[in-house]
């Protein structure tokens, strides 16, 4: 028998539901929607801080200026290079470490503690530490390589465009791997043992179990990790600000650094806001692409 819901009661319930979510909606509006709209409005004006008396409407000029700038292309090249290195490394290493942590070995207990250390250190502090490690005059990295006879003299790692980007990438992955490991570990522990038992009964070996059971079941977690790491990689700023200041010669200036430069160095908030809007749009595109590629329902179905 179908329950009959009176219109008045339904209205009351709906009113209650809206009233319950209203505070959250207001908070989201205040801290997300308003800043987004404000950034968009700013991006359509010429807002230069040292000319506070004049903020004319300029339409899409800021967008055109940003896209035409030589730094826009180079910053995207650096950013994509960085992301293409950071995302696979953080994902694969996180997966490997999670496997070790999930095993019932002595190493797992030790790793459980040590793996969290990089995560516990604030990014700026880890940036300072890595800048010291890679320092050309007295860095531990040079010291170790020199002691092992691998180099004849200290190498200026942070003064060369390619190695500087690699150093920042290394520090970034070191910082991110604990998070990806823990996410994978949680996912691994949620896989029922019965599935592994059944696979073994069917004669599957270690690799086959990994391919046919573990990896497919970790697809949703992988999607989350890949999306998150891509976003973090694209907006990475503090680490390179501390380690290289975007140098040498802008070689580690990622798109986020370019944005920061426009706003806080050039004081051009109009262009900075335009760049922020473009960056947000790019992030949305990345997320949609990933979601399309890693749709877990379809992968499960195959």
């Amino acid at each position: 028998m179908r329950a009959v819901v009176l219109p008045r009661r339904r209205y009351r319930e709906a009113r209650y539901a809206y009233a319950t979510v209203l505070p959250v909606v207001l908070l989201v509006a205040l801290f997300t929607i308003y800043p987004l709209l404000f950034a968009f409005v700013t991006s359509l004006r010429e807002v230069v801080l040292y000319r506070p008396w004049s903020q004319p409407f300029v339409g899409l000029k800021n967008y055109l200026d940003v896209v035409r700038s030589e730094f826009f292309a180079s910053a995207w090249v650096h950013t994509l290079t960085f992301v293409m290195g950071a995302v696979p490394l953080a994902t694969v290493l996180g997966f490997a470490i999670a496997h070790l942590l999930n095993g019932r070995t002595r190493l797992a207990a030790w790793l459980n503690v040590t793996i969290l250390l990089p995560w516990a250190i604030p990014t700026v502090i880890s940036g300072i530490i890595w800048a010291w490690i890679f320092n050309s005059s007295y860095g531990a990295f040079n010291g170790a390589l020199y002691s092992l006879g691998l180099i004849n003299s200290y190498v200026p790692w942070l003064s060369r465009p390619r190695s500087a980007l690699l150093c920042v990438l290394f520090a970034h992955v070191w910082k991110e791997v604990p998070l990806t490991s823990i996410l994978y570990l949680a996912a691994l522990q949620a896989i029922p043992d019965e599935l592994y038992d059944a696979a073994r009964v069917d004669g599957a070996g270690g690799l086959a179990i990994l391919r046919r059971v573990t990896v497919p079941l970790l697809i949703p977690t992988t999607l989350i990790i890949v999306v998150y790491e891509t976003m973090v990689g694209i907006v990475t700023f503090d680490l390179l600000y501390v380690m290289t200041g975007g140098g040498p010669a802008g070689a580690t200036s990622l798109i986020s650094y370019y944005l920061y430069n426009s706003m806080f160095v050039s004081y051009n908030f109009g262009q900075g806001a335009a760049l922020a809007v473009l960056l947000a749009a790019a992030l949305v595109v990345f997320i949609l692409v990933y979601m399309r590629l890693l749709r877990s329902e379809e992968i499960y179905a195959t």
Binding site: N135, Y154, A164, V265
Partner: protein, 429 residues
Amino acid sequence: MRALVASLLVVLMLTVASALGATPVQLTFTVWSYSTDVILDNIKKFEAKYPGIKVSLQDFAWEKYTDVMTARFVGKTPTDLAYSSDHWLQQWAAANWIVPLEDYFPQVKAYKPDFAPYAIEGMTYKGKLYGLPYYADTIIFIYNEDMLKRAGFAKPPATWDEVTRMALAMKEKKIVEYPIMFQFQDITPWYIEVFLSMVYSYKDYQMFDANLNPIFDREGTAAHKVAQWLVDGMRKHKVINPASLETTEIPLVKAMGAGQVAFAVLPKYNLADLNTPGAHAQAGKFKMALMPGETHGTVGFVRFYAMTKMAADRGKAVQDAAWKFLEYFGGKTDGKFVVVKRWALEKGLGFAQLPLYKDPEIRAAINKWGNVSLEEEQAKVARAKEALTPFWGTWSLEFQKEMNRALLGQKSALDALKAAAAKWKEMKK
């Protein structure tokens, strides 16, 4: 009973009134991190002299200072007094973040005859004085005398060619792999000051014409000579440490103190630190020379105490307290430049307050780690930076990035200057 209640009310009112009257004026003072212990001690003494004023200190790294301050000003984070610098003045003043002291404290004009001309120029925007000097100094050439002697030279270099020749000799004798080092990280504010100091050591030093159009990007200009000398030193002669591109002031001073650098161009106060016994392995071996070049000219710069618009808007009581602070720290207290003198004696900071050069205590203190006569001689040929405009600070970062491209071999010295000139023209529009 009524009398008792009335008496209690009177006592209560008096207590509240006295409590309100005793509430000190709170001032927030932002600085870049340098000898914070001395700053705190100065604040303590100031608060003891003026019990009605309390100062809260906030310090930030020098390399990030202007960024942090921009965020504070834009976000309206309470800031009443702040360190500022000649190369940010135009930007900060144009944005209305700091105020002309003359508009609020006309008595500040009386200090002008005491200040070095380059310092006044560096604190003036649209004809008005915006600060009282924290310190003013010159960029100087520092060398390790011991290394120079070991290389067979009795005198410091007088020209940039001599610097190269001596550096090559040191390299050949394996005294040091890279005798010269600079602080050329992309974003360090000292980069442009060091570069300009080298440019100002030439006769035709001008970077801009009378209408502020760049002329430094022409072949054969002083800027071109300096840029080419740097590129050759790093890429051809290999006497300039390639790690210069990641180096900022403190690591450079440490490398020099450790004996890894023979020649450097640095703000003068570093000489005091380098020669402080026990502070560095090579302490005591460092000397200053006049800036090599045709005229030995250099940059004279000023860092100063500024009052923010936020402080001005807080009303008369805060303005009065701010003036007391400004005068105590950058001006005279009981007829003497107390704080400025302390910085000079204890830390070797230079000063804009010219009467201090006659102070025998200061002369003796400078001679312990430096050479007061040479310092005066260098100061005489120091000049303020040209073409300080609201976009100068922004442009200097672009300039630095372009120069580093030349140092990395990505473009020629002249092309780097042309790119920097194009940036200037774009910003000037």
